[in-house]
């Protein structure tokens, strides 16, 4: 049987596969073929090995597994004849890649073939080595390849040169061995050898500075001459492509010259003439010519500035840009991006054309042009360019809007000359493509809005107008809802009117309408609805006349299947119904968030993104990490529910966010401010929590666990730890105390009480001063005074106290959290205790003081029972 005359079987298989109508049929045919090939493999069938391998290659191309044929390649390569080797090497290159262990087995055969007397077999081996060699093979066979660079036949030399490129790529250490042979390759006349020699030389230069210097010295003149020759060469049909002799050689020469000329004035100078000639003389009506011009421009841009050349290059790009061929315009845009850093002014001249390209129908061109415009924007043209881009946003493709929006937002954020412009542009973007705006962007927008106090009215009115037109843009709705909640009164009363505004008439009901529509729209997601609820709560206080209506809207969400919404609406409902007296304080405006802090946090949040990701995943469906945080507090609060002074305490605890914000705006101490900001961030970033809260959440988890055990035996005061939480929980009780029903006054208060030393340890002393408001004998004002008896400074000083059920305790923020040593200063903290069993029982208190001493946590605890009897 003759294996070479029976090639029909391969044809038959291909035919059979092509005749298949369904994928299942094709699989069946392939399975059958594979089975017979496997059988042949295990029989060690010699006659059909090459044909089987050819079939396998075809099957492989269709995407089926063919690993069982790998050893067949090796056997064919090891065979003596050229035809077997040819197909074997082809199979090797197709079926294997450098990461397969099997490949190592071929090293020996390759070595033999590289030394074969038949030059075509040497060629096959070089080709295979060049295409798939691994680092080990490169090391083993590098000497052979190096030797072949001097082989008598040029076709082997060129293959060896490309093989060397691969070897250097795999094992950079071997590079220096190739430096000397390359010099002689560059002097060759044969185009193939020259071409590959130049590529090898370029690679060597990119690998080592030393080689670069060497070639600069040795080959500069020669290369310039070669380029000159090839540029001026007469018509040669063998190398001619559309009237240009060997454009490939042109391009590779230009590329090597670029590497040599970069950062070296002398080298750049010596090539300037020929570059100028190429730039001016090359025909630009065919692709081949343009390819050369393109390469030439790139070279001119990267080498040292030689007079006039850059102008020439920019002009070529200008011509490219106005070309009708999309390919040419694409490369022009690409090149101009690099030119911006070299000569911004020259590129600016083409700005209008580039802007046109942003609107091109071709996605590749649009993308390039947009990148380029982004680079071109500066303070002076930002307004005009942004206007163009936003105008285009209205008509652009859906799938381009994302990119375009992101770029516009970055431009606006980076270069906005003033806040009103920033807000205006962002509102335009939000109305056009609100759904493409990323969370960070609208969070930042809200921060800017809160900071621009003179623009609050203007912003909320603009948003109101915008939302009438583009209610389907989710993010626009969110920002509008937030602003209406915060600044609803300014919307209705036209407060803070700017000259450029047309007055609008919005009634309180209109404003509530907007929120109602948003919360009822079925496309609104959880975040938007949650924001709507908060806005409604705020509006219920801003617009007392709409209070009943708002209550009705909120009531509808009470049955929501989304736990978060349900919980919030029940809480808000009870605030509206039961706690009118504290409501207005509860829903005061958000404190202004410092822009610098916000951007700092933004940067930090990238670091903690991993943490937040893992955290939110453990929370399952909860979209807001604020929610688990609140729930944790809730746990603590449950313990105290029985004893809590009013039923409101429970949900107030839940509503931490609202409570703290109003608290912080009242007190304004630094710590409270901080917690207020956190909460603001929370509201802002329901999707992506700020780093601080996220990272502290697990701590709170554990602390709350501790506290529960600690608190429950004592009584029902929820005692939460952690700096920000403490501030807020005390705030809560404050609110309740302040506004809760006050007990009827019984008698005037007379006596003054002497101060006591309530607690003293070796390191710390706590003094209490007392006073009573006349008319409320049950309430006692206490002033705690802490003195440090040691010589070291205590930091992170926190005082906590707990009292039995018949007492109500309220802690105000401490004067400081740092306590200097040696009694050089003190911390004072006010407490208010209301004794419901006044006259029957006296006050007792359990205290806990924690601080850091030399960065180590110290905890001191004690019970105070030496209060004056009749407090």
């Amino acid at each position: 049987m003759n294996p070479f005359s029976s090639g029909t079987r391969l044809r038959d298989m291909i035919r059979a596969i092509r005749a298949c109508k369904t994928a299942a049929e094709e699989r069946a045919v392939v399975r059958k073929e594979c089975a017979s090939i496997r059988a042949a493999v295990s029989d060690n069938d010699n006659d059909y090995r090459h044909r089987n391998l050819a079939k396998l290659m075809f099957i492989h191309m269709l995407g089926y597994p063919t690993h069982f044929g790998q050893m067949e390649c090796l056997k064919l390569i090891a065979a003596p004849g050229f035809p077997e080797k040819r197909i074997g090497y082809l199979g090797l290159m197709l079926l294997l890649d450098e990461r397969q262990e099997v490949l190592m087995l071929v090293t020996n055969s390759l070595k033999q073939d590289l030394n074969h007397t038949n030059q075509y077999i040497v060629g096959l081996a070089l080709c295979a080595l060049g295409n798939i060699c691994s680092a080990e093979m490169a090391r083993d066979l590098a000497p052979e390849v190096e030797r072949l660079l001097q082989f008598r036949d040029p076709n082997i030399r060129k293959k060896a040169a490309l093989c060397s490129i691969r070897i250097i790529k795999k094992v950079p250490d071997l590079a220096e061995n190739f430096v000397n042979p390359v010099v002689s390759l560059l002097k060759e006349k044969h185009h193939g050898v020259l071409l590959t020699g130049i590529q090898l030389c370029t690679d060597l230069c990119n690998h080592s500075e030393e080689a670069l210097e060497y070639f600069r010295k040795k080959c500069m003149e020669g290369l310039v001459k070669v380029l000159k020759d090839v540029v001026n060469s007469p018509y040669a049909p063998e190398y001619d492509i559309s009237g240009i002799a060997d454009p490939f050689l042109h391009i590779r020469l230009l590329r090597l010259l670029r590497v040599l000329g970069h950062g070296d004035a002398d080298a750049s100078d010596s090539m300037s003439d020929i570059l100028a000639q190429v730039a001016t003389k090359t025909e630009s009506n065919k692709n081949a010519g343009n390819a050369i011009l393109y390469e030439c421009v790139e070279t001119i841009m990267s080498i040292e500035d030689v007079s006039g050349l850059r102008v020439l290059a920019i002009n070529i790009l200008g011509r490219f840009l106005s070309n009708r061929d999309n390919n040419i315009r694409y490369v022009a845009l690409n090149m101009l991006m690099k030119a911006v850093s070299v000569d911004d002014q020259a590129v600016q001249r083409h700005r209008t054309t580039i802007l046109e390209c942003v609107k091109d129908s071709d996605a590749s061109i649009r993308k390039r042009a947009l990148e380029l415009v982004y680079l071109l924007v500066n303070e002076s043209n930002v307004k005009a360019l942004t206007k163009e881009l936003i105008d285009y946003l209205q008509v652009s493709d859906q799938d381009f809007k994302g990119d375009l929006t992101a770029k516009i937002c970055t431009i606006v954020e980076k270069l906005s000359p003033d806040k009103i412009w920033y807000i205006d542009q962002m509102l335009k973007v939000l109305s056009e493509a609100g759904n493409h705006v990323k969370d960070e962007v609208w969070h930042a927008l809200i921060v800017v809005i809160t900071n621009a106090s003179n623009l609050h009215g203007y912003t909320v009115r603009s948003l109101y107008k915008a939302i009438q037109k583009s209610a389907d843009q989710e993010i626009l709705v969110r920002v509008a809802i937030w602003c209406i909640g915060e600044y609803g009164d300014m919307l209705v009363n036209n407060i803070g009117m700017l000259n450029l505004e047309d007055p609008i008439t919005v009634t309180e009901n209109d404003a509530v309408d907007v929120v109602e529509i948003a919360i009822k729209r079925h496309t609104s997601d959880l975040t938007t609805r949650a924001m709507c609820l908060i806005a409604l709560l705020k509006l219920s206080s801003r617009f007392p006349s709409c209070s009943q209506r708002i209550k009705d809207i909120v009531t509808q969400s009470k049955g929501s299947l989304l736990l978060e919404l349900q919980q919030r609406s029940i809480e808000i409902d009870s605030i509206i119904v039961k706690h009118q007296n504290i409501r207005s304080a509860l829903v005061e405006r958000m404190p202004v968030l410092d822009e610098a802090t916000f951007s700092g946090r933004k940067a930090g949040s990238i670091l903690s993104a991993a943490v937040s990701a893992s955290l939110s995943s453990t929370n399952g469906a909860a979209t807001s990490t604020a929610a688990p945080l609140v729930d944790l507090l809730d746990l603590g609060a449950d313990e105290s529910a029985a004893a809590a002074p009013t039923s409101g305490a429970n949900f107030l605890q839940d509503l931490l966010d609202v409570g703290t914000s109003s608290y912080s705006s009242q007190s304004g101490t630094s710590q409270a401010q901080k917690s207020g900001n956190d909460v603001l961030l929370d509201l802002l970033s329901i999707g992506s929590p700020p780093p601080q809260n996220t990272s502290s959440a697990p701590d709170i988890l554990s602390l709350t666990e501790d506290n529960k055990t600690l608190v429950s035996p004592l009584d029902g005061l929820s005692l939460a730890t952690g700096p920000s939480v403490q501030a807020s929980s005390t705030a809560m009780i404050d609110l309740l105390d302040g506004f809760g029903p006050s007990p009827p006054p019984t008698k005037d208060n007379g006596p003054a009480y002497p101060p006591i030393v309530a607690f003293e340890s070796s390191s710390l002393r706590l003094m209490f001063n007392f006073s009573k408001q006349p008319g409320s004998p049950q309430a006692t004002q206490m002033e705690a005074n802490f003195t440090n008896k040691s010589s070291d400074v205590y930091t992170n000083f926190i005082f906590q106290a707990a009292v039995p059920k018949f007492l109500q305790l309220h802690l105000e923020p401490a004067s400081s959290n740092t306590l200097p040593g040696n009694g050089n200063g003190s911390i004072t903290q006010k407490l208010r205790v209301t004794n419901s069993q006044h006259g029957k029982k006296s006050i007792v208190m359990r205290i806990r003081i924690s601080y850091k001493l030399n960065n180590e946590d110290v905890l001191e605890e004690g019970q105070i029972s030496n209060f004056p009897r009749d407090l």
Binding site: N2, F4, R11, I14, A54, M57, F58, M61, L62, G63, P65, G81, F82, P83, L90, M93, D97, R99, Y120, G123, L126, G130, N131, N155, K158, K159, L162, C163, I165, R166, K169, H191, G192, L195, T196, Q199, E238, I241, D246, P247, F248, L249, I251, R252, R255, N287, A291, Y294, E295, E298, N326, N327, R329, Y330, V331, S361, D362, A363, S364, I365
Partner: protein, 160 residues
């Protein structure tokens, strides 16, 4: 050049050549992604698509797309010329090449590609040289065949 692909308009793969390591899984993913991107592009658009930080230069000949994947900083126009050069060489070898030639003689297509590119770099700019080399190797195969024929003929004779 990281890889060369040839895809028919129906999305069938006609030729794949990988010069950078891609696992089998990645390869089929790459092919799927690119055919989705390239086959849907209109005729007047430019021949470059940006993909995973690389650029893919493609050119359509009848129902067949030839694609080459290059780095961001490479010369796209030159790659177009290389594709053209490859196709012209095929055309000269097969004589008015069509898709069927590439299917049934896929190994020959690979041989020609191997004479043009090694390690993803161009090795020869003269079509004549490529043809000379391919012809020489083909005739080596033919000669071996002949020899085999005579030998097997003799064996057959002897067996008879």
């Amino acid at each position: 050049i990281h890889f060369v692909l040839s895809i028919s308009r129906q999305g069938k793969v006609r030729l794949t050549k990988w010069y950078s390591p891609y696992s089998q899984k990645e390869r089929s993913k790459v092919i799927r992604e690119l055919s989705g991107m390239i086959l849907t592009r209109g005729p007047k658009l430019c021949n470059f698509v940006e993909w995973r930080g690389f650029k893919v230069v493609y050119k359509r000949y009848a129902g067949l797309y030839f694609c080459m994947c290059i780095n961001q900083e490479d010369n796209e126009l030159e790659i177009l010329e290389i594709i053209q050069y490859f196709v012209e060489t095929l055309n000269r070898y097969f004589g008015n090449v069509c898709e069927l030639d590439l299917i049934f003689h896929f190994h020959k297509t690979y041989y020609i590609l191997d004479e043009i590119l090694i390690a993803g770099e161009l090795q020869e700019s003269s079509q004549n040289t490529v043809h000379r080399l391919i012809d020489a190797q083909d005739s080596l195969v033919e000669a071996a065949k002949e020899e085999e024929n005579t030998v097997s003929y003799i064996i057959a004779q002897v067996a008879n």
